[in-house]
Symmetry: C2
Subunit: 213 residues, 2 copies
C-alpha cells in the first residue's frame, strides 16, 4: 500500500477539522465510558469520555484526561466538589443514549433524564452509577495532575466499588468485554464492537513462536 508521510509543518497547514479528526484518530480505539457525578445539591450529571487509562492494580487506580475546563467542565467541577465519581462502560444497547450525553444541555437538565438512562446509588456513595451499564466503578478522587502544555489534567481515582454482571467475570478475574458488548470509539465519533481474535499467554523468551512460518 502507498505510504503517506505527514510532517508537523503539513499538520499546521491542514484545514482545522481535518487536522482535528486526524489527530484524534492517532491514539486508536478506546473504551467509551460514561462519567457519573452529582453536584453539592445532588443534581446528577453524565458525560462521555474515552481517555480512561489503567494506572495500577494495588492500589487499584484509574486515570482519565480532563480537557480544558469550560469545554466540558460540569463533571470535573462536581467530582472535585464531592470527591467521587463513577465510570460506566458503554455497551451496544445504550450507545445512542451515551453519545447524546455530549450535547450541550442547559445546566438544570440532567443527562440521565434527557438521554433516558437510570441513575443508581450505592448507600454511602454520592455519585450516580448508570444502572444499564454492565461494568461500573465507583471512584474516589485521589489527585488531579495538571498538564501544563495544553491545560488538560490527569484525573486519578481509586476504585472503591465495582458493579458488574456476574456472568462477564471469568474464573481468573478477567472480564469478557465481548460478552458485555462493550463499545470502543475511534476519532471523535466512530463506534465499534469488539471481536476477540486471540488470548495470548505470558510472553517468554524460551517459548517464542516460529515467526517465519
Amino acid at each position: 500500500m502507498e505510504q503517506l508521510h505527514i510532517t508537523e509543518d503539513m499538520l499546521a497547514g491542514m484545514e482545522r477539522f481535518h487536522r482535528a479528526n486526524l489527530i484524534n484518530s492517532l491514539s486508536g480505539a478506546k473504551q467509551a465510558m460514561l462519567v457519573g457525578t452529582c453536584n453539592s445539591q445532588g443534581q446528577t450529571n453524565l458525560a462521555l469520555f474515552s481517555s480512561i487509562v489503567h494506572l495500577g492494580a494495588d492500589p487499584a487506580l484509574l486515570g482519565f484526561i480532563q480537557r480544558p475546563v469550560g469545554v466540558s467542565g460540569d463533571s470535573f467541577r462536581n467530582l472535585t466538589d464531592t470527591g467521587c465519581y463513577t465510570l460506566n462502560h458503554v455497551h451496544g444497547g445504550i450507545l445512542v443514549n451515551a453519545h447524546y450525553t455530549s450535547a450541550r444541555f442547559p445546566p438544570e437538565v440532567s443527562e440521565f433524564d434527557a438521554c433516558h438512562l437510570t441513575p443508581y446509588f450505592l448507600e454511602g456513595f454520592r455519585a450516580p452509577f448508570v444502572k444499564e451499564s454492565r461494568i461500573s466503578m465507583g471512584m474516589e478522587l485521589v489527585e488531579v495532575i495538571p498538564v501544563t502544555h495544553n491545560d488538560t489534567k490527569l484525573v486519578i481515582g481509586r476504585v472503591k466499588h465495582i458493579r458488574l454482571d456476574r456472568e462477564c467475570m471469568g474464573d481468573d478475574g478477567n472480564l469478557d468485554v465481548n460478552m458485555t458488548d462493550s463499545i470502543v470509539v475511534s476519532g471523535l465519533e466512530t463506534y465499534h464492537r469488539l471481536e476477540q481474535v486471540a488470548r495470548m499467554g505470558y510472553a517468554k523468551v524460551e517459548r517464542l513462536p516460529d515467526f517465519s512460518s
Copy 2:
C-alpha cells in the same frame, strides 16, 4: 442479569492474579501500540503499550503511562536519553510479533530482530518506526509527569511525523481503523478486532433521537 458488587475490601482479599486481571480489565479495551526507541549507541528497542491517550490536537500531543521503571524500563531510558520515540499501531498481521516483544530479552537483543519486525528510519529522526505498521507517529518527548501515588509516569510527546497507508485516511481526516485491521487489548493479554457499528454526528440538543422507540 445478576449484579455483583465488589467493594475495595473484597478486592484486597482477592488472590493476587485474580485481582490483577480484574483491575486490568476495568479500563476496557485500548489500542495496542508498539513504542520504538534506540539508545545513545543506536541499538533499537520495541515494547508493547496499551495506555496511549489523546491530549490535544493543536499542538498535537499524545500521552502514555509508563509503569515503574525497572519493570520495563528500556523504552523509557532510551526516550529520555534521545528525546524521541515512535508509536506504531498493531494490526492483525503483526499481532503475534507484537505480543512477544514483551518477553524479557537480554539487553543486547533488539526486539525488532527477535520478533521479526523491520526498523525503518526517517532522515533526521533517531527513533525507529515499525515498517509493517499501517499507522505510526514519530514523537518528540515534551514532558514526563510523575504520578506520586504509585510511581508511574505520564509521558507526553508531540507529533512530529505521521506515517500511514494513504487509503486508510478519509477525506475528512478520520482514519479507518477497520481498514487498517487495528487491534485493541483488554485485560493483560486478550486481543480484539474492531467492527464499526455507528458513525454518529455531532450531538445537538435540538436533534435528540427518540429514545423511547
